[in-house]
Amino acid sequence: MNCSEITTLAPLYLSGELDRERTASVVAHLRICPACARDIEQQRDLDARVRAALLAEMTDAERLNPRIHRRITVAEAKRRVITLGLVAAGIVLATGFLFYRFVAPPVSVLAKAAVSDHRREVVEKRVKRWRSAPADIDALIHRQGIPATALQSLAAAGYRLDRARLCRLDGNIYLHLVYTDGSREMSVFLRPRKGEAVPLHAENMGSQHVVAVQSASMTVVCVAEESQAATSLARSAATL
């Protein structure tokens, strides 16, 4: 080991971090090199001088300790308030979502979704896969838990059932029936439900007239260009 290596390793030697083998090499060098031995000795003395001077000072943390204690207590109280606030906000949001999603989806939202679906699937004919054979339509209706008698109640004057498929309105699966009078087409969306009947909701959305009704056992939404046909069909649906 030479003087340069001693200079490099001096910090580790002075802090006792060198392994036994390298410590022995340093010690062996210090025995034969008075300059390095003096250098290390001076560093030790200097360290001791600095340590003695600073450790003799009065740091007096007494007045700081209560401040720290108070600060932590206040921070912890704030954190609890924020956590409780977040939990309360989460509960309110979750309750609102569940109410909206499962208890009472607003009829206006449903009506808007039905008009949009009617425009896409019927007016613009973007969907090709429909069931038009009566047996297929009956099977689809049966699978959705809708009684076959419901269809008879939904027959509107001058309209006949043309085709059917399943679609999604406002996150729920609906049976989408398309009625035609030969030139115009009307959409009827059905979904079984259980609950109290909700008053009939009707509005115009562009060229479409939409009527939604929620009876005790069924949600029915009719979308048609002709308001009279839609209203008449929805009124029959209210008795389901």
């Binding site: 490099t8 971090e17 090199c33 001076q42 600095v50 700081l64 600060r71």
Partner: protein, 166 residues
């Protein structure tokens, strides 16, 4: 006081004096140093779940102190203008204390930091590397230069003329 707070204070509060001693040399002002230590303890409290039981709490707190210091230091840095009086039970020479403090204040911030941690607080080079988040080689070279600079300030006559012993 909660059990958690109680456990935290048992673990951290004994090191407040050491943190304050170093903070005074970093900030140069007693009030600013107290603020630094207070913020350090608050950060430590918030990060208490990251502390592993059985590891070095002192080194962990110093690491937080330096992180806090460097994050605040970008906004403001002050000159050393504070020297604490000697403790009543210590037979320290006030002139000697003043000289050492003035010499420390004259060092660069990074040299002062490693010197305080190694010489006064007794951390190993490996621990200092962890506290300051720098390689151990950097700690060693900073420590050598800091000692050399301090020697020139406190004992200018003592120079080292090394030979070539192998």
């Amino acid at each position: 006081m909660s059990t958690q707070q109680d456990a935290f204070e048992r673990m951290a509060m004994p090191h407040v004096s050491a943190l304050l001693r170093v903070a005074c040399r970093l900030r140069g002002d007693r009030t600013a140093a107290e603020d630094l230590v207070q913020e350090t303890m608050l950060r430590a409290w918030r990060a208490r779940h990251q502390f592993r039981e059985g590891t070095n709490a002192r080194a962990w707190l110093f690491r937080i102190l330096f992180h806090q210091f460097y994050s605040e230091g970008r906004r403001a840095r002050v000159e050393l203008n504070f020297v604490a009086p000697p403790a009543p039970d210590q037979a320290a020479d006030p002139v000697e204390t003043l000289e050492v403090n003035q010499a420390l204040a004259a060092l660069s911030e990074e040299h002062r930091a490693v010197l305080l941690l190694a010489v006064v607080e007794g951390f190993t080079c490996q621990e200092i590397a962890g506290i300051l988040s720098i390689p151990i080689g950097t700690v060693m070279s900073r420590l050598s230069r800091a000692r050399q600079a301090l020697r020139e300030l406190l004992a200018p006559g003592e120079t080292c003329a090394k030979g070539g012993a192998a």
